[in-house]
Amino acid sequence: MTDIAIIDYGMGNLRSVSKALEHVAPKATVVITSDPAVVRQASRVVFPGQGAMPNCMHEMDSRGLRDAVIHAAANKPFLGICLGLQMLFETSEEGNVKGLGILPGKVRRFPAAAAMHNADGQKLKVPHMGWNQVHQAIDHPLWHGINNDARFYFVHSYYVDASNPEPVAAYSFYPFQFTCAVARDNIFAVQFHPEKSHSAGLTLLGNFVQWEPATTN
Protein backbone atom coordinates (compact mmCIF):
# COMPACT_ATOMS: atom_id res chain seq x y z
CA MET A 1 0.00 0.00 0.00
CA THR A 2 1.47 3.26 -1.12
CA ASP A 3 0.80 6.23 1.10
CA ILE A 4 2.24 8.92 -1.15
CA ALA A 5 2.89 8.59 -4.89
CA ILE A 6 5.09 11.13 -6.62
CA ILE A 7 4.20 11.09 -10.31
CA ASP A 8 7.30 10.65 -12.48
CA TYR A 9 6.87 11.51 -16.14
CA GLY A 10 10.55 12.04 -16.81
CA MET A 11 10.61 15.81 -16.26
CA GLY A 12 13.07 16.88 -13.66
CA ASN A 13 14.58 15.77 -10.46
CA LEU A 14 12.12 14.18 -8.06
CA ARG A 15 14.65 13.16 -5.48
CA SER A 16 14.34 16.44 -3.56
CA VAL A 17 10.55 16.10 -3.33
CA SER A 18 10.85 12.51 -2.19
CA LYS A 19 13.53 13.24 0.44
CA ALA A 20 11.54 16.13 1.87
CA LEU A 21 8.35 14.01 2.13
CA GLU A 22 10.30 11.19 3.81
CA HIS A 23 11.67 13.78 6.22
CA VAL A 24 8.20 15.03 7.27
CA ALA A 25 6.50 11.59 7.12
CA PRO A 26 9.14 9.08 8.23
CA LYS A 27 6.58 6.28 8.62
CA ALA A 28 4.91 6.74 5.25
CA THR A 29 5.74 4.80 2.11
CA VAL A 30 6.81 7.36 -0.47
CA VAL A 31 7.28 6.14 -4.03
CA ILE A 32 8.35 7.84 -7.23
CA THR A 33 6.31 6.19 -9.96
CA SER A 34 5.32 6.37 -13.61
CA ASP A 35 2.86 3.49 -13.26
CA PRO A 36 -0.78 4.70 -13.51
CA ALA A 37 -1.91 1.74 -11.38
CA VAL A 38 0.36 2.79 -8.52
CA VAL A 39 -0.94 6.36 -8.77
CA ARG A 40 -4.54 5.09 -8.63
CA GLN A 41 -3.87 3.03 -5.51
CA ALA A 42 -1.99 5.73 -3.59
CA SER A 43 -3.75 7.56 -0.77
CA ARG A 44 -2.07 10.85 -1.68
CA VAL A 45 -0.55 12.11 -4.88
CA VAL A 46 2.17 14.67 -5.54
CA PHE A 47 2.32 16.05 -9.08
CA PRO A 48 5.64 17.87 -9.63
CA GLY A 49 7.19 19.13 -12.83
CA GLN A 50 10.10 21.09 -14.21
CA GLY A 51 11.17 22.27 -17.63
CA ALA A 52 8.89 23.30 -20.48
CA MET A 53 5.13 22.71 -20.35
CA PRO A 54 4.76 21.25 -23.90
CA ASN A 55 7.39 18.62 -23.00
CA CYS A 56 5.68 17.95 -19.67
CA MET A 57 2.27 17.37 -21.32
CA HIS A 58 3.84 15.18 -23.98
CA GLU A 59 5.83 13.06 -21.53
CA MET A 60 2.83 12.66 -19.22
CA ASP A 61 0.68 11.43 -22.13
CA SER A 62 3.39 9.19 -23.58
CA ARG A 63 3.43 7.31 -20.26
CA GLY A 64 -0.35 7.01 -20.22
CA LEU A 65 -0.58 9.04 -17.00
CA ARG A 66 -3.22 11.62 -17.95
CA ASP A 67 -6.24 9.66 -16.68
CA ALA A 68 -4.48 8.76 -13.45
CA VAL A 69 -3.62 12.43 -12.84
CA ILE A 70 -7.20 13.54 -13.56
CA HIS A 71 -8.54 10.76 -11.33
CA ALA A 72 -6.24 11.71 -8.46
CA ALA A 73 -7.08 15.41 -8.81
CA ALA A 74 -10.75 14.54 -8.47
CA ASN A 75 -10.50 12.04 -5.63
CA LYS A 76 -7.65 12.31 -3.15
CA PRO A 77 -5.29 14.75 -1.49
CA PHE A 78 -3.38 16.14 -4.46
CA LEU A 79 -0.38 18.47 -4.35
CA GLY A 80 0.83 20.11 -7.57
CA ILE A 81 4.28 21.72 -7.56
CA CYS A 82 5.63 24.22 -10.13
CA LEU A 83 4.69 22.81 -13.57
CA GLY A 84 2.32 20.57 -11.61
CA LEU A 85 0.37 23.77 -10.83
CA GLN A 86 0.55 25.22 -14.35
CA MET A 87 -0.58 21.97 -16.04
CA LEU A 88 -3.89 22.07 -14.13
CA PHE A 89 -4.96 25.14 -16.13
CA GLU A 90 -6.48 25.41 -19.61
CA THR A 91 -3.66 26.69 -21.79
CA SER A 92 -0.10 27.97 -21.64
CA GLU A 93 1.68 30.60 -23.70
CA GLU A 94 4.67 28.26 -23.53
CA GLY A 95 4.38 26.60 -26.94
CA ASN A 96 0.63 27.47 -26.97
CA VAL A 97 -0.05 24.08 -25.44
CA LYS A 98 -3.27 22.89 -23.82
CA GLY A 99 -3.18 21.98 -20.16
CA LEU A 100 -5.43 19.56 -18.29
CA GLY A 101 -8.16 22.18 -17.95
CA ILE A 102 -9.05 21.18 -14.40
CA LEU A 103 -8.96 24.84 -13.30
CA PRO A 104 -10.00 27.85 -15.41
CA GLY A 105 -7.24 30.18 -16.51
CA LYS A 106 -4.10 30.61 -18.56
CA VAL A 107 -0.38 30.30 -17.99
CA ARG A 108 1.49 33.40 -19.18
CA ARG A 109 5.15 34.35 -19.58
CA PHE A 110 6.70 37.10 -17.50
CA PRO A 111 7.57 40.07 -19.73
CA ALA A 112 11.24 40.36 -20.79
CA ALA A 113 13.53 41.47 -18.00
CA ALA A 114 14.14 44.82 -19.70
CA ALA A 115 10.44 45.61 -19.31
CA MET A 116 10.23 44.92 -15.57
CA HIS A 117 11.80 46.97 -12.82
CA ASN A 118 11.61 47.07 -9.05
CA ALA A 119 10.97 50.22 -7.02
CA ASP A 120 14.69 51.13 -7.24
CA GLY A 121 14.61 50.95 -11.03
CA GLN A 122 16.66 47.75 -11.14
CA LYS A 123 15.81 45.33 -13.93
CA LEU A 124 13.91 42.24 -12.79
CA LYS A 125 15.40 39.07 -14.21
CA VAL A 126 13.55 36.13 -15.73
CA PRO A 127 13.39 33.36 -14.54
CA HIS A 128 11.91 34.65 -11.30
CA MET A 129 14.43 32.80 -9.16
CA GLY A 130 14.85 32.92 -5.40
CA TRP A 131 12.93 33.53 -2.19
CA ASN A 132 9.73 35.54 -2.50
CA GLN A 133 6.93 36.30 -0.08
CA VAL A 134 3.74 34.28 -0.22
CA HIS A 135 0.63 36.24 0.73
CA GLN A 136 -2.05 33.84 1.89
CA ALA A 137 -5.42 34.72 0.32
CA ILE A 138 -7.48 32.17 2.24
CA ASP A 139 -7.34 30.15 5.42
CA HIS A 140 -6.41 26.57 4.56
CA PRO A 141 -5.11 23.51 6.46
CA LEU A 142 -1.93 23.57 4.34
CA TRP A 143 -1.04 27.05 5.64
CA HIS A 144 -1.25 26.00 9.29
CA GLY A 145 1.86 27.00 11.20
CA ILE A 146 3.18 29.11 8.31
CA ASN A 147 3.37 32.88 8.76
CA ASN A 148 1.55 35.00 6.26
CA ASP A 149 4.16 36.49 3.88
CA ALA A 150 6.65 33.70 4.66
CA ARG A 151 9.25 33.29 1.94
CA PHE A 152 9.37 30.26 -0.35
CA TYR A 153 11.82 29.33 -3.10
CA PHE A 154 10.65 29.98 -6.67
CA VAL A 155 12.16 29.29 -10.06
CA HIS A 156 9.92 29.85 -13.09
CA SER A 157 9.47 32.00 -16.20
CA TYR A 158 5.71 31.46 -16.58
CA TYR A 159 2.94 32.20 -14.09
CA VAL A 160 -0.71 31.31 -13.63
CA ASP A 161 -3.36 33.86 -14.54
CA ALA A 162 -6.47 32.34 -12.94
CA SER A 163 -9.77 33.26 -14.64
CA ASN A 164 -11.63 33.54 -11.38
CA PRO A 165 -10.36 34.33 -7.92
CA GLU A 166 -12.18 31.50 -6.15
CA PRO A 167 -9.36 28.90 -6.16
CA VAL A 168 -6.54 31.40 -5.41
CA ALA A 169 -4.90 30.39 -2.12
CA ALA A 170 -1.94 32.77 -2.27
CA TYR A 171 -0.25 35.36 -4.43
CA SER A 172 3.16 36.96 -4.82
CA PHE A 173 4.53 40.06 -6.55
CA TYR A 174 7.11 40.18 -9.38
CA PRO A 175 6.60 43.10 -9.78
CA PHE A 176 2.86 42.66 -10.42
CA GLN A 177 0.61 40.34 -8.45
CA PHE A 178 0.42 36.73 -9.65
CA THR A 179 -1.18 33.55 -8.32
CA CYS A 180 1.35 31.33 -6.55
CA ALA A 181 -1.01 28.82 -4.93
CA VAL A 182 -4.48 27.47 -5.63
CA ALA A 183 -6.85 25.33 -3.58
CA ARG A 184 -10.08 23.62 -4.57
CA ASP A 185 -11.62 20.67 -2.74
CA ASN A 186 -8.85 18.03 -2.52
CA ILE A 187 -6.44 19.93 -4.79
CA PHE A 188 -3.67 22.19 -3.53
CA ALA A 189 -1.05 23.39 -5.97
CA VAL A 190 1.86 25.78 -5.64
CA GLN A 191 4.21 27.59 -8.01
CA PHE A 192 7.09 27.57 -5.51
CA HIS A 193 9.12 24.57 -4.37
CA PRO A 194 8.17 23.54 -0.82
CA GLU A 195 10.83 20.81 -0.96
CA LYS A 196 13.48 23.55 -1.29
CA SER A 197 11.91 26.12 1.02
CA HIS A 198 13.51 25.21 4.34
CA SER A 199 11.23 25.16 7.39
CA ALA A 200 8.22 26.88 5.76
CA GLY A 201 8.30 24.35 2.94
CA LEU A 202 8.66 21.38 5.27
CA THR A 203 5.73 22.67 7.34
CA LEU A 204 3.58 22.83 4.20
CA LEU A 205 4.56 19.29 3.18
CA GLY A 206 3.90 18.08 6.73
CA ASN A 207 0.45 19.67 6.55
CA PHE A 208 -0.18 17.95 3.21
CA VAL A 209 0.62 14.45 4.47
CA GLN A 210 -1.88 14.92 7.31
CA TRP A 211 -4.54 16.77 5.30
CA GLU A 212 -8.00 15.19 5.21
CA PRO A 213 -10.01 17.29 2.75
CA ALA A 214 -13.79 16.99 2.92
CA THR A 215 -14.72 14.08 0.65
CA THR A 216 -15.60 15.04 -2.89
CA ASN A 217 -17.19 13.17 -5.78
Binding site: V126, M129, V155
Partner: protein, 258 residues
Amino acid sequence: MGLAKRIIPCLDVTNGRVVKGVNFVALRDAGDPVEIARRYDEQGADELTFLDITASSDNRDIILRIIEEVAAQVFIPLTVGGGVREVGDVRRLLNAGADKVSINTSAIQNPQLVADAAGHYGSQCIVVAIDAKKVSGMGPDTNRWEVFTHGGRRATGLDAVEWAVKMQSLGAGEILLTSMDRDGTHNGFDLGLTRTVSDALDIPVIASGGVGNLQHLVDGVIQGHAEAVLAASIFHYSEYNIRQAKEYMAQHGIEVRL
Protein backbone atom coordinates in the same frame (compact mmCIF):
# COMPACT_ATOMS: atom_id res chain seq x y z
CA MET B 1 8.13 43.52 -0.78
CA GLY B 2 9.21 40.97 -3.30
CA LEU B 3 12.07 38.80 -4.37
CA ALA B 4 14.99 38.68 -1.93
CA LYS B 5 18.63 38.95 -2.95
CA ARG B 6 20.39 35.71 -2.16
CA ILE B 7 23.51 34.91 -0.13
CA ILE B 8 25.19 31.73 -1.30
CA PRO B 9 28.10 30.25 0.64
CA CYS B 10 30.46 28.31 -1.61
CA LEU B 11 32.18 25.11 -0.58
CA ASP B 12 35.23 24.12 -2.63
CA VAL B 13 35.55 20.37 -2.10
CA THR B 14 38.52 18.10 -2.74
CA ASN B 15 39.01 14.54 -1.49
CA GLY B 16 35.95 14.88 0.69
CA ARG B 17 37.06 18.06 2.48
CA VAL B 18 36.18 21.73 2.11
CA VAL B 19 39.24 23.80 1.24
CA LYS B 20 39.91 27.38 0.27
CA GLY B 21 42.85 28.89 -1.55
CA VAL B 22 44.05 32.24 -2.82
CA ASN B 23 43.66 32.55 -6.59
CA PHE B 24 42.98 28.81 -6.71
CA VAL B 25 46.35 27.89 -5.10
CA ALA B 26 47.63 27.51 -1.49
CA LEU B 27 44.68 25.39 -0.32
CA ARG B 28 43.71 25.54 3.34
CA ASP B 29 41.47 22.95 5.03
CA ALA B 30 38.13 24.33 6.24
CA GLY B 31 36.33 21.18 7.41
CA ASP B 32 33.75 18.52 6.67
CA PRO B 33 31.33 19.49 3.84
CA VAL B 34 28.19 17.95 5.36
CA GLU B 35 28.80 19.60 8.72
CA ILE B 36 29.51 22.96 7.08
CA ALA B 37 26.44 22.69 4.85
CA ARG B 38 24.25 22.04 7.89
CA ARG B 39 25.73 25.00 9.72
CA TYR B 40 25.10 27.40 6.82
CA ASP B 41 21.57 26.09 6.43
CA GLU B 42 20.87 26.79 10.11
CA GLN B 43 22.29 30.29 9.74
CA GLY B 44 19.87 31.03 6.90
CA ALA B 45 21.86 30.49 3.70
CA ASP B 46 19.58 30.89 0.67
CA GLU B 47 21.34 28.23 -1.39
CA LEU B 48 24.58 26.27 -1.22
CA THR B 49 27.13 25.85 -3.99
CA PHE B 50 29.63 22.98 -4.04
CA LEU B 51 32.56 23.11 -6.43
CA ASP B 52 34.37 19.83 -6.86
CA ILE B 53 37.97 20.89 -7.38
CA THR B 54 39.35 17.34 -7.25
CA ALA B 55 42.09 17.19 -9.83
CA SER B 56 41.80 13.50 -10.64
CA SER B 57 38.67 11.96 -12.12
CA ASP B 58 39.25 8.86 -9.93
CA ASN B 59 37.71 10.61 -6.95
CA ARG B 60 34.65 12.10 -8.67
CA ASP B 61 32.25 9.79 -6.86
CA ILE B 62 33.12 11.36 -3.50
CA ILE B 63 31.13 14.48 -4.39
CA LEU B 64 28.07 12.37 -5.26
CA ARG B 65 28.10 10.78 -1.81
CA ILE B 66 28.49 14.18 -0.16
CA ILE B 67 25.56 15.63 -2.13
CA GLU B 68 23.38 12.63 -1.28
CA GLU B 69 24.10 13.11 2.40
CA VAL B 70 23.52 16.88 2.32
CA ALA B 71 20.31 16.58 0.26
CA ALA B 72 18.78 14.23 2.81
CA GLN B 73 19.01 16.84 5.56
CA VAL B 74 19.27 20.31 4.02
CA PHE B 75 16.14 21.56 2.24
CA ILE B 76 17.39 24.55 0.27
CA PRO B 77 18.65 24.62 -3.33
CA LEU B 78 22.00 22.92 -3.92
CA THR B 79 24.24 23.73 -6.88
CA VAL B 80 27.14 21.48 -7.79
CA GLY B 81 29.93 22.20 -10.25
CA GLY B 82 33.34 20.91 -11.25
CA GLY B 83 34.19 18.23 -13.76
CA VAL B 84 30.82 18.32 -15.56
CA ARG B 85 31.69 17.16 -19.09
CA GLU B 86 28.58 15.52 -20.51
CA VAL B 87 24.83 15.26 -20.02
CA GLY B 88 25.41 12.03 -18.08
CA ASP B 89 27.41 13.99 -15.48
CA VAL B 90 24.48 16.40 -15.12
CA ARG B 91 22.10 13.49 -14.64
CA ARG B 92 24.29 11.82 -11.98
CA LEU B 93 24.51 15.05 -9.97
CA LEU B 94 20.76 15.74 -10.20
CA ASN B 95 20.02 12.16 -9.17
CA ALA B 96 22.33 12.53 -6.19
CA GLY B 97 20.23 15.49 -5.01
CA ALA B 98 21.66 18.57 -6.74
CA ASP B 99 19.04 21.08 -7.89
CA LYS B 100 21.33 22.91 -10.27
CA VAL B 101 24.52 21.91 -12.02
CA SER B 102 27.25 24.39 -12.84
CA ILE B 103 29.16 24.00 -16.11
CA ASN B 104 32.42 25.87 -16.68
CA THR B 105 35.30 24.63 -18.86
CA SER B 106 33.14 22.14 -20.74
CA ALA B 107 30.83 24.93 -21.89
CA ILE B 108 33.82 26.49 -23.63
CA GLN B 109 35.03 23.23 -25.13
CA ASN B 110 31.53 22.19 -26.16
CA PRO B 111 28.84 24.93 -25.97
CA GLN B 112 26.27 22.42 -27.23
CA LEU B 113 26.50 20.73 -23.81
CA VAL B 114 24.70 23.73 -22.28
CA ALA B 115 21.91 23.51 -24.88
CA ASP B 116 21.61 19.74 -24.49
CA ALA B 117 21.56 19.84 -20.68
CA ALA B 118 19.02 22.70 -20.62
CA GLY B 119 16.92 20.88 -23.22
CA HIS B 120 16.89 17.69 -21.14
CA TYR B 121 16.50 19.05 -17.63
CA GLY B 122 15.31 22.63 -18.06
CA SER B 123 17.17 25.93 -17.89
CA GLN B 124 16.30 26.26 -14.21
CA CYS B 125 18.95 23.70 -13.31
CA ILE B 126 21.74 24.81 -15.63
CA VAL B 127 24.21 27.36 -14.28
CA VAL B 128 27.12 28.46 -16.43
CA ALA B 129 30.19 29.48 -14.45
CA ILE B 130 32.38 32.12 -16.04
CA ASP B 131 35.87 32.93 -14.73
CA ALA B 132 36.86 36.34 -16.06
CA LYS B 133 39.94 38.55 -15.92
CA LYS B 134 40.27 42.19 -16.85
CA VAL B 135 42.41 42.71 -19.92
CA SER B 136 43.96 46.04 -20.78
CA GLY B 137 42.10 47.45 -23.74
CA MET B 138 43.01 50.21 -26.12
CA GLY B 139 40.98 53.31 -26.94
CA PRO B 140 37.36 53.71 -25.83
CA ASP B 141 36.90 50.01 -25.19
CA THR B 142 38.98 49.97 -22.01
CA ASN B 143 36.60 47.92 -19.86
CA ARG B 144 37.07 44.46 -21.27
CA TRP B 145 37.11 41.11 -19.53
CA GLU B 146 38.25 37.84 -20.99
CA VAL B 147 37.10 34.34 -20.10
CA PHE B 148 39.82 32.17 -18.54
CA THR B 149 39.96 28.49 -17.63
CA HIS B 150 42.18 26.32 -15.44
CA GLY B 151 41.97 28.56 -12.41
CA GLY B 152 42.75 31.69 -14.36
CA ARG B 153 45.87 30.34 -16.05
CA ARG B 154 44.54 29.74 -19.54
CA ALA B 155 43.09 32.49 -21.70
CA THR B 156 40.30 31.57 -24.12
CA GLY B 157 40.16 34.71 -26.25
CA LEU B 158 36.43 35.00 -25.45
CA ASP B 159 34.92 38.28 -24.30
CA ALA B 160 33.18 37.65 -20.97
CA VAL B 161 30.07 39.74 -21.75
CA GLU B 162 29.57 38.23 -25.20
CA TRP B 163 30.13 34.76 -23.77
CA ALA B 164 27.53 35.31 -21.05
CA VAL B 165 24.97 36.48 -23.63
CA LYS B 166 25.71 33.41 -25.75
CA MET B 167 25.27 31.09 -22.74
CA GLN B 168 21.93 32.73 -21.99
CA SER B 169 20.79 32.15 -25.57
CA LEU B 170 21.82 28.47 -25.37
CA GLY B 171 19.62 27.96 -22.33
CA ALA B 172 21.63 28.78 -19.19
CA GLY B 173 19.27 29.71 -16.36
CA GLU B 174 21.82 31.63 -14.35
CA ILE B 175 25.43 32.86 -14.57
CA LEU B 176 27.98 32.35 -11.78
CA LEU B 177 30.47 35.11 -12.50
CA THR B 178 33.88 34.97 -10.81
CA SER B 179 36.54 37.63 -11.10
CA MET B 180 39.86 35.79 -11.21
CA ASP B 181 41.60 39.08 -10.40
CA ARG B 182 39.73 39.33 -7.12
CA ASP B 183 39.23 35.69 -6.10
CA GLY B 184 40.84 35.08 -2.73
CA THR B 185 42.05 38.66 -2.36
CA HIS B 186 39.36 39.93 0.07
CA ASN B 187 39.33 43.21 -1.86
CA GLY B 188 35.69 43.00 -2.97
CA PHE B 189 33.95 41.99 -6.19
CA ASP B 190 35.00 43.39 -9.55
CA LEU B 191 31.93 45.63 -9.63
CA GLY B 192 32.49 46.84 -13.19
CA LEU B 193 32.53 43.28 -14.45
CA THR B 194 29.51 42.27 -12.40
CA ARG B 195 27.40 45.23 -13.44
CA THR B 196 28.34 45.03 -17.12
CA VAL B 197 27.44 41.35 -17.34
CA SER B 198 24.30 41.63 -15.21
CA ASP B 199 22.95 44.57 -17.21
CA ALA B 200 23.57 42.70 -20.46
CA LEU B 201 21.48 39.68 -19.39
CA ASP B 202 17.86 38.78 -18.69
CA ILE B 203 18.87 35.85 -16.44
CA PRO B 204 20.18 36.25 -12.88
CA VAL B 205 23.87 36.77 -12.13
CA ILE B 206 25.66 35.49 -9.03
CA ALA B 207 28.66 37.69 -8.15
CA SER B 208 31.74 35.83 -6.96
CA GLY B 209 35.38 36.41 -6.15
CA GLY B 210 36.93 38.75 -3.63
CA VAL B 211 34.51 39.15 -0.72
CA GLY B 212 36.41 40.24 2.39
CA ASN B 213 33.72 42.00 4.43
CA LEU B 214 29.98 42.55 4.58
CA GLN B 215 30.06 45.88 2.74
CA HIS B 216 31.40 43.99 -0.28
CA LEU B 217 28.17 41.96 -0.37
CA VAL B 218 26.10 45.16 -0.33
CA ASP B 219 28.26 46.65 -3.10
CA GLY B 220 27.78 43.53 -5.23
CA VAL B 221 24.01 43.98 -5.17
CA ILE B 222 23.67 47.76 -5.25
CA GLN B 223 26.59 48.71 -7.48
CA GLY B 224 27.14 45.39 -9.24
CA HIS B 225 23.43 44.69 -9.91
CA ALA B 226 23.88 41.05 -8.89
CA GLU B 227 20.81 38.99 -7.95
CA ALA B 228 22.91 36.86 -5.61
CA VAL B 229 26.30 37.08 -3.90
CA LEU B 230 28.61 34.15 -3.34
CA ALA B 231 31.36 33.98 -0.74
CA ALA B 232 33.50 31.34 0.85
CA SER B 233 36.28 32.23 3.24
CA ILE B 234 34.51 35.00 5.18
CA PHE B 235 32.01 32.36 6.29
CA HIS B 236 34.29 29.32 6.56
CA TYR B 237 36.59 30.82 9.14
CA SER B 238 33.69 32.30 11.11
CA GLU B 239 34.66 35.91 10.57
CA TYR B 240 30.97 36.47 9.94
CA ASN B 241 27.94 34.23 9.90
CA ILE B 242 25.22 34.30 7.25
CA ARG B 243 22.67 35.85 9.58
CA GLN B 244 24.98 38.80 10.32
CA ALA B 245 25.57 39.23 6.61
CA LYS B 246 21.83 39.34 5.92
CA GLU B 247 21.13 41.78 8.73
CA TYR B 248 23.86 44.04 7.39
CA MET B 249 22.38 43.89 3.90
CA ALA B 250 18.89 44.60 5.25
CA GLN B 251 20.23 47.66 7.12
CA HIS B 252 21.51 48.89 3.78
CA GLY B 253 18.11 48.67 2.14
CA ILE B 254 18.49 45.28 0.46
CA GLU B 255 15.57 42.88 0.65
CA VAL B 256 16.75 39.57 2.14
CA ARG B 257 15.17 36.47 3.64
CA LEU B 258 15.64 36.73 7.40
